[in-house]
Amino acid sequence: MTEYLLAIGTRKGLFLGHSTDRVSWEVERADLGMNSVSAVCIDTRRGRQRVLAGATSGHWGPSVLYSDDLGKTWQEPDRAPVSFPEGSDAALTRVWQLQPGGPAEPEVMWAGTEPSALFRSEDGGVTYELVRGLWEHPHRPTWQPGGGGQCLHTVLPHPRDGSRMTVAMSTGGVYQTTDGGQSWAPSNGGIVALHNPDPYPEYGQCVHKISRHPDEPDRMFLQNHGGVFRSDDGGGSWSPIGGDLPADFGFPIVAHPRRPGSVFVFPLLGDFDRTPPESRCRVFRTDNAGETWQPLEKGLPQDGFQAAVMRDAMSADDGDPTGLYLGTRSGAVFASGDEGDSWHAVALYLPDVLSIRAAVVG
């Protein structure tokens, strides 16, 4: 019997769902208090099942905690897990992303933060060090905060080449390294910046999320603040693929983990509405890398639905068939065990959902 773990980070705490069929779920609140959990990660490398949470208290500040017993108990080190070094002009506001390193680096964990910075852990996500190459980039003083804050929210290690990585931030856009993080270059060619007099600047785009399939590392999919884009050359250039979507604004974008060319988005009316088109909760999937999109709505609310889905509140698990999960700002969580064709409610009345991850744990 397969066991699934669903980690749901909300504005007020972390919730954990357990299921054997991805239809019926038992959801419990983890012992993380009233922290907002902007980042969650279930790291199943090394034969270990480590759950990590980027948790921020409105009073007591941010931290990264981890659990090696599926959320029963939580630990953090004596020293601050993620902190800006002495002499830097910033203090950590929150952790937006916790991303395992590539296959050749099983102990590496990456953290994307607010203010926009990248941190690297070499002890499985317990403690992190600032990646100075990006922090000291001459563009950094001109990056501007998006509505959620000046955050680095996407970290994509190259699945085959440990020296290459793509990150994205709001705002700032896409940056890449090919030398293990020592130097970084913007990679935003073709991505529109609707808030800028020059709609195609070198950098400064408000990229919301990037995703890719590990077998096609040079093909990436991007949800922008206006427009869905694809790159076929490793980020060198980007082309719009919003095509027949009912709206091209949104936050999350999720590449199917086993099927290259299949991608999921959750469109919102943009830019000054940010509710789902036709007030219907619908995920859209392409199976041809963005040429066409089809709605996935069976089991999702189709009447009077006004909630958004945040950039890390939609994700896929590593099951077969692939499971999909989304959490809304209205506190509802839905799961699909059949690649998005049908959905079941996991919970309906949680605090607003900020992050969601799921994995096979047994």
């Binding site: 504005r11 208090g33 907002s36 208290s57 409105g58 009073h59 007591w60 500040g61 931290s63 953090e76 004596d78 020293r79 601050a80 902190s83 800006f84 002495e86 203090a91 950590l92």
Partner: protein, 96 residues
């Protein structure tokens, strides 16, 4: 000299559930020295009160007796033997 730091409920888990933390500091100690001492003995507690650069977090208040150190000399506020220091969450921090 000995001072006593009173802790609010959410921070007591970092000192084994105790409501107060007695500390021995030098006679010329200021609040910064007290928090440095907290950091040495209870680092997880200290970083709930101060950020990585030693600044009091925005939504945390520190009182010496009944006076907020923001109205005194902040981290340089001087102390006297037996003084009670109280850590409290600001009302504003619960906005979300």
């Amino acid at each position: 000299m000995r001072v006593v730091v009173w802790l609010p409920g959410p921070l007591r888990e970092y000192v084994g559930g105790a409501k107060q933390l007695p500390l021995d500091v030098t006679d010329d100690a200021v609040i910064r020295d007290v928090l440095d001492a907290v950091g040495r003995s209870h680092p997880l507690l200290e970083r709930r009160i101060r950020d990585e650069h030693g600044q009091i977090r925005e939504h945390v208040n520190v009182f010496v007796g009944t006076d907020n150190i923001k109205d005194l000399d902040r981290l340089e506020t001087r102390l006297h033997s037996g003084v009670e220091i109280t850590i409290l969450p600001a009302v504003s921090g619960g906005a979300r």
